[in-house]
């Protein structure tokens, strides 16, 4: 059932090519504006901060729509045909993949238009992976809440930004180490552990809490 739901998400995404194209234009547009503003005069901490600010805003904007389709008749159909747990697992898995794709795209265009400062690339990619799965876990639930609360975009960002802060702060500090090219022996593993634990925590909470948003 979960597989079928993920397949449905992918099909829907590619059927409306406007969304995936819109995402790319959004990412490139934001990065290009930043590139023009900074004109390459970025030191490493600024590079790092700007990258994550762009990622944060993109993911909140993009995943805000994750549940917006699921209202009205569609919501009733989902409610009758799927179980809540299957549904949220499928959403989160799909959003994880989508966020990973999104952050890789952001990284690529960011490196292309601004510059690539990362010196410890494997560590940076690991952080990207963990960050996107954490973002997907939190934002899926927030999107579900926002869609129930009349689903306007302002609510989505108001709800998401404060609860995303712990994740983002841990990620920024870790990615600073990747940007500075710290060797694997010197990486702060307690921060990595906190990041992994945050992932597990948000997934567990979404899994537990989502069924209560389900019945309407």
């Amino acid at each position: 059932m979960i597989k079928a739901l993920i397949k449905k998400e992918i099909l829907l995404e590619f059927r409306q090519k406007s969304t995936i194209g819109g995402v790319l234009v959004y990412v490139i547009g934001t990065i290009f504006v930043s590139a023009l503003c900074f004109k390459g005069r970025l030191d490493k901490p600024t590079w790092n901060a700007l990258f994550w600010v762009i990622s944060l805003f993109t993911s909140v904007t993009i995943s805000g729509k994750s549940f917006l389709k699921e209202t009205g008749g569609q919501a009733l159909f989902n409610y009758l045909h799927y179980s809540a747990r299957d549904f949220i697992v499928a959403k989160i898995v799909y959003n994880m993949a989508f966020m990973l794709f999104l952050s890789l795209m952001t990284f690529f265009f960011y490196g292309f238009f601004i510059k690539d400062e990362v010196e410890n690339l494997p560590l940076f990619l690991l952080i990207l992976l963990l960050a996107s799965s954490g973002l997907a876990g939190i934002l899926s639930l927030m999107s579900a809440i926002a869609s129930k609360a009349n689903g306007n975009f302002a609510i989505m960002s108001i709800l998401s930004f404060p609860v995303l802060m712990p994740l983002i702060l841990v990620v920024i500090r870790l990615s600073k180490q990747a940007v500075d090219g710290i060797e694997w022996a010197g990486v702060s593993y307690d921060l990595l552990a906190v990041l992994a634990a945050l992932n597990v925590l948000t997934l567990a909470l979404s899994f537990l809490l989502f069924p209560y948003l389900w019945r309407d």
Partner: protein
Amino acid sequence: MIKQHWYKITAVLLILYTLVWGLMNRVPRLDILNETIRNVYYHVPIWFAMLFMMTVSMVHSIQSLSKNSVKHDTKAYNAAVVGFFFSVPGLITGSFWAKFTWGTWWTFQDPKLNGVAISILIYLAYFVLRASIDDELKKARIAAVYNVFAYVMMNVFIMILPRLTDSLHPGNGGNPAFSKYDLNDAMRFVFYPAVIGWVLMSYWLFQIKNRISELNELYHE
């Protein structure tokens, strides 16, 4: 509804005792802190009261979800309002303390200060979310889900993250709690009663809020 008076009297007596005796008792003479060390009797217990109220709010939200009751949700909201109210004196006493020890009203270097700012944003978001839903039952469920999630995230922020990084607060960044203050026996006799007093006081305010919302409900019926 608890109508007993013992805990209200205890709260008032304990707070009066700590307000007066906190200014009079002997405290260790430490560099930089000097006499401001007495703020440990006011600043810290107020934050304890706020955290206590947020915990009460979270517990009521869980009950509201499991029993599907609007009543528990109203209580969760009231507790969050009282907790939010306590964050104001918590911030002001902290800000004054920071000015006279660290030399600034506010600093972004300290993870606890950032955590407090984020917690305030989280609960503001909770209030906005509640205001944006009209249907009572729906509001109860959705707000409770957000409240539980937000409580966990707030605790990650103010309990776990400060312990990993350098903080100006004691008990963080490898400093064991309170040893920096040399919280000696004389201070303990004020500090612990202050914590109990402020927690009881917050509970009293919570009960008053509950009674007001019950009367409001009766009035509108």
